[in-house]
């Protein structure tokens, strides 16, 4: 391995930090702002010492801390804490399960299920989940066309909302 590669690998392991926000909807907004600005970031689970129960954090290259904070401040988003990464972070679920009911298709991501009419692309049901934005998301999305319904990213606030966003994106890919 060349010295450059060795240095780069070490930097990958040691040069990451996490941004901690007040709630998951702030994380979702921050993710969009930073991705749109071209930063290489990942949405992950927090380390045990700062978990409260329904958390996401943004992992980012620590050397870019000031630039990244500037991008967030420009969008009116203020993280509660910036912390170096010392231990492995939890990986969000990335497994999708689908069930074809004939006229309807259901996509499940983690604990959230989204069901759509395959012909009309109408969202007919949302089930699963346990955070309080799930009934709200269902209320706002069921009965609407997939491309006209508000996305969970826009109106969700919790990890269940984020899981539904993943199911929504997978459904959009399939429909």
């Amino acid at each position: 391995m060349s010295l450059l590669k060795l240095f780069k690998k070490k930097g990958d392991l040691q040069g990451r930090g996490i941004l901690v926000f007040e709630n998951t909807s702030e994380v979702i907004r921050g993710e969009r702002v930073l991705q749109d600005a071209g930063w290489k970031i990942r949405v992950m689970g927090p380390p045990p010492e700062i978990r409260t129960g329904c958390d996401l954090i943004i992992e980012f290259p620590l050397m870019e801390e000031l630039n990244i904070l500037r991008s967030l401040q420009g969008a009116g988003i203020e993280p509660l804490q910036v912390v170096p990464v010392n231990s492995p972070l939890l990986q969000p679920v990335d497994i999708f399960q689908t069930k074809d009911f004939g006229q309807h298709l259901m996509v499940r991501a983690a604990n959230m299920k989204l069901t759509v009419d395959k012909t009309t692309h109408t969202v007919v049901n949302i089930s699963g989940g346990g955070c309080p934005d799930v009934p709200y998301l269902a209320q706002e999305m069921v009965g609407k066309l997939l491309d006209e319904a508000p996305s969970p990213r826009e109106i969700g606030h919790t990890l269940c909302g984020y899981a539904l966003q993943l199911a929504y994106e997978e459904m959009t890919r399939r429909c």
Partner: protein
Amino acid sequence: MLAVVGTVPEPDFPLITGKVVLVDGDVCIEGERAPINRGTPALLAAAVKVCEALGQPAPMGCLVGDTGLGKGSRRLYKYLTQEVGRWDVKAMAFHYLQPDVDWHNRVLFAVQDMAEPPLLIADAGFMYAAKMSGLSCDYALFTPDVGELAFLADEEAPHPFYTRGFILHEDMKVPGLIERAYAHQNAAACLLVKGQPDYVAGRDGIHAAIDMPVAEAMEAIGGTGDTVTGIVAALVASGMDVREAAVLAARVNRLAGYAARPTPATQVMDIVAHIPAALSQVLADIPLSAGGRHG
């Protein structure tokens, strides 16, 4: 009496406690109404139907508006820590609430300080917080679906969103997940696992598997897990043994769903209407004659 603690997906819904009645398809508490589409109102509607059928007092609801930011849930948690000591209830079901371990623990300790602590049932967000707190064993019943069971079985996951893939892939092997959840002290005394089949289990293993009748579309319908939790909570509050109540509730929910001739587009209020007839049928069939097998 049963007390149900949960949320309504309206930001301005007040924090309110009182007897729950059904009015024109809504749950109604102290003049405040919420539609029975899913979530805690669906759980309450099912519980009201069971209490009516059994001649039991109507359930008490303790609700607040919360659309996911958690502010309503935290107001409700604070209220509970101050007020729950004055309640006289046989069972309490906690439902769609923002998972918050610190508040979970304060509420649990307040409940345990009651003169006669009720049997505790947790579903949805409050079950997530109960598992993360490490105090699952203090609960009489959890009612997870199969995905949530995988979360209970994963000793490292703080939320179903982080359930590790090797465990999620096991989700068709429910008995193994149940065993793993108990091995890590992450299950209540009784589990009612909602799936195909539904399982009723305890630390000593699987007590029953309920697999009939089958309405495959039920899995897609939001609120069908909430109704089964409402049914079992009402049965437990009536004095029925928790395991027996769980088996009956699974059968009643299946029968009610089947009677509604559901499609994946059916809404849960169409199923709630069939609960009284389904309950009559199941109670008439005791001891189990079909659809359930004891393990």
